[in-house]
Amino acid sequence: MSLNFLPELPLSGNLFFLSSVLLLAGSVGGALVHRFLSLPSITGFIAAGVLLGPAGLNAGELWVLDDVRALINLSISLILFELGRRLDLGWLRHDRGLLLMGTWESAISFLLMFGTLIHVGVEPLYGALASAVGISTSPAVVLLVVRELKSEGQVTRRALSLVAIDNIFALVLLTTFLPFLHFEFKAPWITALLHPLYVLSGSIALAFATHAGLILFARIGGKDKVVQLVLQLGAVLFVLGLSYMLHLSFLIAVLVLGVLSKNLDRRHDLVDVEWGYLGQTLFIVLFFLTGASLQWQDFQLAGWAVLAFLAARFVGKSLGVVAFAKKSGLSITQAIALALMLVPMGGLAVGMSYGLTDIYPAIGRHVIAITAAAVAVLYVVGPVAVQIALKWTGETHPERR
């Protein structure tokens, strides 16, 4: 009797099976860590990813991570869109201190990170690229801890705006450095000059066009929250898909779409939708997968240089925040808490680094070695820093203290 109807061993995984494993393991990990260690659920999501990923039990061939980058990118896109909607340009006009704070903490941290990397012998171009990535702050970590603790108030609101500003600076600076990257790899000068211009202007143009369409659809669809949720999800997927097709930066396009949809919606056709359960699911996906993809050997490779890089980043951001705290009307306690809120760096930084390897794979050795190791450290430290900061300011809901 032939048994060829039975599956062959070893079993090969698929996306559905992978999704089920990561959701179940991530949820349980998050709940355990939150309940028994009083740490943010994120730490549990990441720990579950590390445990089942290549660095841990290496659960078979499930971890063909290139296949799941689409899931990571979708999660990052939705988070960036929400982050963009939190950036109120009108507020920056009324509180110049906040704008100066965002500009200077980005600039000082970049210079200090760059100086540190040069000092430890990293090539200037790779140092500049890694430092540009280092400006970014993880919107996912900050947003999730804020939600988990039901935090509301000035530090919370300002932290989300600074995170948006950080990521805009990081993305623009990274794109600006592209010509040097091309020159490094002996690309024609026309490529070196036109590529960043194409990526930057194309991504922004895509955001503007999508925003116009989204407003039009919203006027037709009305203000029902379910309709709006589907519309906004559709717009984000549209930008993500078209960015792939046109070789644009989906990170820039989605973030700008969020900013436009908040600041150019003069008739208030769009309503703020609650991503709720969908958002929570995607958070688990994002943190589990980035946990699973952490390259711990990078940390051994980069070693102490990474710790110096992270120290420079923290000092730079803190100096920028504290310097303009008074102008922005913040107390010193609030300023220190705000600086702590900018500690996390995560999936977005990994995404930016992978964006570089898409252009020149060889660069991975140099830039990702630094950024991935930094992300590994900050995935442990970042969520806890945000939790401490929010509890310290008293902005968390009393039931979550």
């Binding site: 939190r86 109120d88 108030g153 203000k223 809901h397």
Partner: protein, 383 residues
């Protein structure tokens, strides 16, 4: 502890409880502590106070004797608060209740008194995140304060209808013009002062209640109108916070002119307490269209008609600078244009409680220019 009654002249002032709004969600924000800290650097700081939850602040005017000066000071408060709020990315709104906040999300303002209220009243403390206007009317003696407390009771439904601005509560249209007072009524010491003849009898009553351990100070009585001995005033507490400072000042001026009239012209009706609850309910539920029963004659008329009749009686008590206030009151009744109606029209137009709150914030900040349109035309003028 009952302080001695501090007599004052025929002056007046107000307290206004205001909503702090998060511009991102249009829900109530929780930034009262920070706002107060920032306001503490300004000249108007002593007039800005915390309230039971961190989504509220209260502004206290100084003492005035006419509409023009009161409205000007309230305008200064509005502008100063607006500037600080803009720097904090907050919005400020009038209105007696937030349209869609949920009580369980509120946070008690830290402090001994508020925490005592929270412990004592449970969820009512957070539900008490409603926003009222209190009008203080100066009295020349303690006995006059008792007299006015009783005499004003007959007119309280007018103030409820004139100020009503809480048709939406916890995400629904309540069908009331003022739903806020239903929240106040849940407190055991709400209602009206018992019928005492003079200040001496009132003191006896207070000490008896204090002896039972029911009250510690006058603040524990949540009556619709009560004497306030430390200020030397009678305090009308039934008004919702109006949507503009001009309307708030006009209501207070109307009350002051009415008190001037009552002091010289009318004795309190001993039967008023028998039907007060009916008249009060009618005002909360139907606003100007509520049926008012005159306890002396038994005659029925609408509350709007009763206001127009009262305006005629008190005309001679208006002072220099009061005319715009009394005109605003009259036109508001003649056009049936109270704030509850404005809010319902805003919702009907936008089909969104968030947009309704946004328009409410715009109206608060825009002040008098919009107020003129508000009193003479439908709210569609705003869209």
């Amino acid at each position: 502890m009952m302080p001695a009654f501090k007599s004052s002249g025929p002056t007046y002032g107000i307290e206004l409880e205001l909503q702090l709004i998060d511009p991102y969600t249009l829900n109530l924000a929780t930034d009262a502590r920070d706002l107060l800290r920032r306001m503490s650097r300004l000249k108007l700081a002593p007039g800005v106070k915390p309230e039971i939850t961190q989504s509220m602040i209260e502004i206290n005017s100084s003492i005035h004797d006419n509409y023009a000066s009161l409205a000007a000071e309230l305008g200064d408060f509005r502008d100063a608060l607006g500037d600080v709020a803009q720097q904090m990315n907050l919005l400020i709104a009038g209105g007696g209740a937030h349209a869609f906040h949920l009580w369980r999300d509120r946070r008690i303002f830290p402090g001994e008194r508020f925490e005592h209220i929270s412990t004592r009243y449970g969820y009512l403390a957070k539900l008490f995140t409603v926003f009222g206007q209190h009008i203080h009317l100066g009295c020349t003696s303690a006995d006059q304060a008792i007299y006015l407390t009783q005499a004003l009771t007959r007119y309280l439904p007018q103030f409820i209808a004139l100020s009503a601005s809480s048709p939406f509560h916890q995400g629904s249209d309540t069908s009331f013009d003022s739903s806020r007072l239903n929240v106040v009524s849940a407190f055991p010491l709400s209602g009206v002062m018992p019928p005492v003849r003079d200040w001496r009898e009132f003191e006896d009553y207070f000490h008896k209640m204090a002896g039972f351990g029911i009250v510690r100070s006058m603040k524990d009585f949540y009556w619709d109108v009560r004497p306030k001995p430390e200020y030397g005033t009678v305090e009308i507490r039934v008004c919702d916070t109006p949507l503009t400072v001009e309307r708030a000042a006009a209501l207070a001026t109307y009350a002051r002119a009415l008190a001037d009239f009552l002091v010289v012209s009318e004795e309190p009706d001993p039967d008023i307490y028998a039907i007060y609850s009916h008249n009060r309910f009618q005002a909360c539920r139907y606003g100007y269209d509520g049926v008012f029963i005159d306890s002396r004659s038994g005659a029925k008329r609408t509350i709007g008609e009763d206001i127009l009749d009262t305006l005629r009686k008190i005309r001679s008590h208006a002072r220099a600078g009061d005319d715009p206030a009394l005109r605003l009151i009259r036109s508001s009744v003649e056009t049936a244009g109270n704030d509850a109606r404005w809010l319902r029209a805003a919702y009907s137009r936008t089909q969104s409680l968030e947009d309704t709150v946004r328009l409410q914030c715009d109206l608060w900040m825009a002040g008098s220019d919009l107020e003129k349109r508000h009193t003479v035309s439908a709210p569609s003028a705003f869209f």
